[in-house]
C-alpha cells in the first residue's frame, strides 16, 4: 500500500503499545495538530480492515467503568508493514490538480479577473501563515506543533511563490495580448 494513509498512522500509534479507538483518535489529533481531526467512524473502519489484513488484532474488551471498548494491538506483520511504509520514498507529487491552479486557469479561459483572485487568495494565505507562525512561536509550543506548523507554512509559502510568479506573468501576458 503506497502513500499516506490512516492505516499506517494508526499502525504507527499502535507501535507504542495496545490502544483502543477513542484513544487512537485522541493521540492522532494531538500528534498531528494541524491535520484534519480523525473521525471516529474512520478509526473503527480502519481498525477492522487492519484486523482483516492480519496487521492488527484484538487484544481484549473492557469497560473500565465507562462504555465498553475494544483494545487493539499491532501484529508482527503490522510492524513489518509499518517499517516498510516508513522507509518508502513518497512520490514527489506535482499537485497540479490543486484548486488554486484550476481557478486561475479557468479564470483566464473564461476572461475572468485572475489577478484580483490571486490578490484575494494571497491575503487569505498570508492570514493563515500569520496564524501558524503565532502557533509555532508561542512560548511552550512542543516539537510536534512546531514541525506540523512548519510543514503547513512551507506549503503555503510554495503556493504564494507560484501565485506571485503567475501574477507577474499575467501582467506580461496581458500586455502582449493588448499589444497584438
Amino acid at each position: 500500500m503506497i502513500g499516506m494513509s490512516t492505516r499506517h498512522i494508526l499502525l504507527g500509534l499502535l507501535a507504542s503499545g495496545p490502544s483502543h479507538g477513542y484513544d487512537l483518535k485522541r493521540r492522532h489529533d494531538e500528534r498531528f495538530p494541524q491535520a484534519r481531526p480523525l473521525a471516529y467512524g474512520q478509526v473503527y473502519t480502519t481498525l477492522q480492515r487492519l484486523v482483516r489484513d492480519g496487521l492488527a488484532e484484538v487484544e481484549g474488551t473492557g469497560a473500565d467503568g465507562g462504555p465498553e471498548r475494544t483494545t487493539y494491538r499491532s501484529t508482527e506483520d503490522g510492524a513489518r508493514e509499518l517499517a516498510h511504509w516508513a522507509g518508502e520514498i513518497a512520490p514527489p507529487a506535482p499537485f497540479v490538480t490543486n484548486e488554486i491552479f484550476a481557478k486561475v486557469v479557468v479564470s483566464i479561459l473564461s476572461g475572468g479577473d485572475a489577478e484580483a483572485y490571486l490578490r484575494a487568495q494571497r491575503a487569505a494565505h498570508m492570514e493563515r501563515m500569520r496564524e501558524l507562525t503565532a502557533v509555532k512561536t508561542a512560548k511552550g509550543a512542543d516539537l510536534a506543533t512546531v514541525l506540523s506548523a512548519d510543514y503547513a507554512l512551507n506549503h503555503l509559502d510554495a503556493d504564494l511563490r507560484w501565485m506571485t510568479t503567475t501574477a507577474a506573468r499575467l501582467t506580461t501576458l496581458t500586455a502582449e495580448v493588448d499589444a497584438a
Binding site: R119, R122, A123, M126, R130, A168
Partner: protein, 231 residues
Amino acid sequence: MSNGDSAVPLLAARDLTKTHGMTRALRGASVELGAGEILAVTGTSGSGKSTLLHCLAGIVRPDAGVVTYAGQRLDQLPEKRLSELRRSDFGVVFQFGQLIPELTALDNVALPLMLAGTPRGDARARAGAWLERFGVRGQGELRPGEMSGGQAQRTALARALVTGPRVVFADEPTGALDSLATEQVMTALAHTAREAGTAVLLVTHDDQVAAYADREVRLADGAVAVAGVTA
C-alpha cells in the same frame, strides 16, 4: 496585537513620490504604522520597498508627499533635528554593510549607548545581553569582516534594538540567513518588539518572514497594491 487601526498612527506616509534619475521608485505610496505594530512591506524586486523605508526613516526625503512621525512632519524637519530624532527614536537594519568594520561585534552594539552617554562598561554589558538574545554572544569579540553574513546581521539587529527605539526599520534583515536561523532571528525580533512595544517596519521578499508581522502592505510599481487583512 495590532495597533494599526488606532486613530492616530505613530508613523504615516501619504502619497509619496520619489524619482531616482529616470526611475519613478515611488508613485503615490501611502502607509501607516501604529505604535507597537509590526508591519511587513512586501512586493517584487524594484517595487519601491527600500525607497519607502528610507523615506519613512528620514534617510531620504521624498519628492512629494507627507511623512509624519508622532504628530510632526518628518519630511520637513531640518537635517540636524532629523538626525537627533533618528538616533533617539529609530533603529535601522539593512541587509549589508551597516556595522563599523574596525569595531568588534560587542563594541558595535555598545556604540549607540555610548553615544547617548552610557559608560563603556555598562554599555558593553547591555550589548552582551542583546548579542545573547540573537544567539551571537560567542562572536562578541569578532570584527564584522570575521563574521558570517548571518552573524553580522544578528549583530546589526542587536545594535538596532539596544537603545530601546520606538520604531525599528529593517530592510531584508534575514536576507543572508538559512531558514532555521531566520526563524530564530525573527522570533527574537518579534518577541522583543512585542514586549517592548516597539513598532517594526519590516521589508522582506520572504513571505514566511512577512508572516511574523501583524499586517502586510504590498507594493507594486511604487504604490500600495493591497493592504493585507488587519490582524
